[in-house]
């Protein structure tokens, strides 16, 4: 039980999904043009990650013990259909929440951070509670990276930047500098 906070901090800062593992880069570069959209996408992703962690745990414990080679196909099909189902459920139960997450829910299904989360959690043999904490940390870490980049990009709109560097090239270089900053967090774990 005492390793739960460490799992959280590790997924949130030290091994940030976007800036250290390079997962979920497509939304990271594509959607991060405004702060508000980024925050919503982050919220929806965190939510999907939680669902995924539960699904992955159930599959690993009850289904895949007998057929590990089906892991990948199972994961992707189950995650995709669960997210679809939850999307319909939220639409019925809470239209306000659905509007907040909007079109991002279906898009997130193909986000590699989601599948990556399931695979990492499996490889490390996380249990139910550990998996959920890991998903929470990873989701908030993803949101953090997205919001940081979006903030910097909004600022850069107002500055005079050469035409040549504008666009993806600049975003990647900003991401590189952010990633360097996040490397500083590696010092949090001196023993591991």
């Amino acid at each position: 039980m005492d390793n739960l906070p460490w799992i959280f901090i590790s997924a949130l800062l030290v091994n940030n999904f976007v800036l250290t593992y390079f997962l979920g880069l497509c939304p990271f570069l594509g959607v991060s043009s405004s702060l508000e959209t980024s925050a919503r996408l982050g919220l929806a992703t965190t939510f999907v990650m939680l669902v995924t962690a539960v699904c992955a745990w159930v599959l690993n414990t009850y289904v895949l013990v007998h057929a590990p080679y089906l892991r990948l196909i199972c994961f992707i099909v189950v995650i995709a259909s669960t997210v679809q189902f939850i999307e319909m459920l939220i639409k019925k139960l809470s239209p306000a929440l659905f509007r907040a997450m909007g079109i991002f829910l279906p898009l997130i299904t193909t986000n590699c951070a989601i599948l990556g989360l399931a695979i990492f959690a499996t490889n490390r043999g996380y249990g139910f509670l550990e998996g959920i904490v890991y998903a929470l940390g990873a989701g908030i870490g993803f949101t953090l990276a997205l919001v940081l980049l979006a903030g910097l990009r909004e600022e850069s709109e107002l500055s005079d930047i050469p035409k040549l560097i504008k666009g993806t090239a600049m975003n990647l270089i900003i991401a590189g500098i952010l990633s360097m900053a996040f490397m500083g967090f590696a010092g949090l774990f001196s023993s591991t």
Binding site: F22, G24, L70, L72, I73, L115, N123, L164, G167, G176
Partner: protein, 216 residues
């Protein structure tokens, strides 16, 4: 028939330069940056992606008339996931060391948006021969991008290429290049070069058009 040959050639070559999946379309970034800290990893990743893309393009294109429109994405994903599983176990059997280094990124080929994008945009609409050629072109373009990024990062960060030390003992490695930030920075600089190239080309074409107009 002549025109047909030209078209095949065009489908193949466009993936390598004009529509290069990484440098021009900016797709498939996650595996691109994550595994390119050495040239050998880049080749293994590129090879696996090549196999998956060509195999699934072939299957999708063969079955394109039988896959119902409403569930096509799920069908594509299952086909892709099957090929990825095969690639995963093959690499594990042949080169366990590389497989260990690539780790979770082999299964993550499933979520490479470039592969799904090609199925949706091309293979599900064109006959098998063109689909396979297109897939081979795109995959080669991806492989070239991976390899150039991997080579640059290994050269600067390790002073070596394919594990062979090039600069001798006095070389001070630029360690940041093989760490995560190096991936972002290197790709950013390469994209910058591509932008510059495109800008120059556009300027040149505009000048030519201008000259033609004033000449006539």
């Amino acid at each position: 028939m002549k025109m047909n040959g030209n078209q095949s050639y065009d489908e193949f070559i466009k993936g390598i330069w004009r529509d290069n999946p990484v440098f021009v379309q900016v797709l498939g970034m996650c595996p691109m940056l994550a595994v390119t800290n050495s040239a050998i990893n880049a080749i293994a990743m590129g090879g696996a992606t090549f196999f998956v893309l060509v195999g699934s393009s072939f299957l999708v294109s063969s079955f394109r008339n039988w896959i119902p429109k409403q569930v096509r994405i799920s069908c594509f994903i299952i086909i892709i996931a099957t090929f990825v599983t095969v690639a995963d176990y093959t690499l594990l059997a042949l080169v366990p060391k590389v497989h260990k280094e690539l780790g979770a990124f082999i299964p993550l080929i499933v979520a490479n948006c470039m592969i799904l994008g090609r199925q949706e945009a091309f293979s599900s609409r064109y006959p098998v021969r063109l689909a396979v050629l297109d897939a081979m072109g795109m995959a080669s373009g991806f492989l070239i991008a991976l390899l150039s990024l991997g080579a640059i990062r290994e050269l600067l960060g390790d002073g070596a290429l394919f594990g062979v030390n090039l600069f001798g003992a006095n070389f001070e490695p630029w360690v940041i290049m093989i760490l995560p930030p190096g991936g972002f920075l290197t790709l950013g600089v390469i994209l910058l070069f591509f932008n510059w190239f495109k800008l120059k080309k556009d300027e040149f074409l505009a000048e030519v058009a201008e000259a033609e107009r004033s000449g006539s």
